[in-house]
Symmetry: C2
Subunit: 317 residues, 2 copies
Amino acid sequence: MEFFDKVGKSALGSRLRLMTAVVTDDAAKIYELYGVDFVPKWFPVFYTLAEEREITITEIANEIGHSQPSVSKIIQEMITAGLIQESAKTDDKRKNNVVLTEKGTLISKKIKQQLEDIDLAIEEIITESKHNLWAALEEWEFLLEQKSLIKRVSEQKKKRESKDVEIVEYKAEYQQAFRELNVEWISKYFEMEEADYKALDNPEDYILKKGGKILVALYQNEPVGVCALIKMNNSEYDFEMAKMAVSPKSQGKSIGWLLGKAIAEKARELGAKKIYLESNTILKPAINLYYKLGFEKVFGLETPYKRCNIQMELVLR
Amino acid sequence: MEFFDKVGKSALGSRLRLMTAVVTDDAAKIYELYGVDFVPKWFPVFYTLAEEREITITEIANEIGHSQPSVSKIIQEMITAGLIQESAKTDDKRKNNVVLTEKGTLISKKIKQQLEDIDLAIEEIITESKHNLWAALEEWEFLLEQKSLIKRVSEQKKKRESKDVEIVEYKAEYQQAFRELNVEWISKYFEMEEADYKALDNPEDYILKKGGKILVALYQNEPVGVCALIKMNNSEYDFEMAKMAVSPKSQGKSIGWLLGKAIAEKARELGAKKIYLESNTILKPAINLYYKLGFEKVFGLETPYKRCNIQMELVLR
DNA sequence: TACATTTGCATAACTAGTTATATAATTAAT
DNA sequence: ATTAATTATATAACTAGTTATGCAAATGTA
């Protein structure tokens, strides 16, 4: 199909579907060729029964990777066709154990030769081809089990989008964004406090002039995240990382991570050995981010904020 | 899936179906991730429209390998969703040309980034894997186009079955089979003639004692095909190949071919340079076989059989 | 030019799967 | 010993495709 060369790999699903149709269409013709009264979709169920003697419907479904209702229907069809029968009931009356009938066993023998021929035919194609479809499917089953396609795509998305994120120094024009982004999350989870208003209304005086820094994350030139480094009066810590806020609309672009990294770098540039932060454990994603950035729990410093119930530090190196 | 290791390659269809399901399930989630109001099955049609501007339903179907009704339904859904519209009718009033709406064009742009991300994610899997699924599918499409799976399987079947065919010399116990197999086809297509009865009722006297030979094809120890080499009174030919008959139930096992080859070999052993045969052109598969065995048309010999309308010879070397 | 054939599309009916849900039997927990 | 939760199955409704078929328009042909 020329189409697939044009579209690219994102049409993998369509390409697989077409190949599946080609193969299963021929499967039906193959049973006809061998004069066996058999429907291709029965095969996985039938095979399992031929191997396992006696087995429940749900067990078959798990074995062959179908849904339970699918197997349930197939079983009914095969009972009608006289290939299988319900076996002597077990003690568990919910279970519907099934076994091959005599006719079923006969067909199973008849089919054996056919399966070998198919095996050889497919083996022949594999020999003719450079890329082994069977082995590729096996590998893909494993790789997608390890990390699903949606996970992989979402990682690509993040990677691409975080490339479009730019971290810049605070300018007066970002004051409104600095205030709004912080007010948004603080008032959502807690209540705005005196110290908040001071810093957010007048970052120039309350943060920058005291020797602090503010960084802004721009996405498509719009400020979508902010974070401040506030000078502390403390022998152990030079700076507190605070007022980190990321617009909910821009989540999933690793903006928090990029801001945190940049702030730590900035603190290092300014000669700090350790930085400090205060937060609250109900902010799970934030706490998670702090751990990822390398922060560790500490105890005992005094704080003007009611909402603080966890304190952390990051040793810079 | 452990199941597939057990079953073997004949479950290729099932394995493909499962992989298709895994991939297309995630496809739906991917559109959700990107906040696009879009159904995965629309994609091939949508892509074609985005590329080709204006195109008919049947053309799309051919392009993407779907059936026409499938595209027809998808088009209807996408019209309802406002992504495409019927374009200014062409002069051919049967045709239903469709184009993207403005909304459609917008989504097409929005989707571009997404497609690139998917492409990269799949590329990543390909890099991680030893066997390239995408390339394998491409190759298989080509190889199955060249020779379908059913064709390949049927060749395997023939190959295997012809191994179980044994060509043996005539014995008295095969007289009944020799007669019946021949009577079956002769009386089906023509009428039994005087010369037939003589040879079939008493091959010992009429064929063997005159220096001829009869070979019998056994399949699972049952006689399923016969062929005679009859001594001729002719300066040019030593033998006539005649009374070849194969049981209709045993067709497709190359029995005719094996008998013919064996008869030619036997004639060579007996010192013949050329052998001769008579037949009728309504027996197309037979004539075909004779050509395959190397026989060529000749003209002019006299024959006792009414049914003869073609004469052939095989030069032995 | 009239009639047969072909083409493009829509619709209906089918297929092989799915998810959602109901029911009965069993097992676990109080 | 009840009651709640879980398990095994069946059934219903849905999905994404297929073939079969009918109709109207266009094309080919005697």
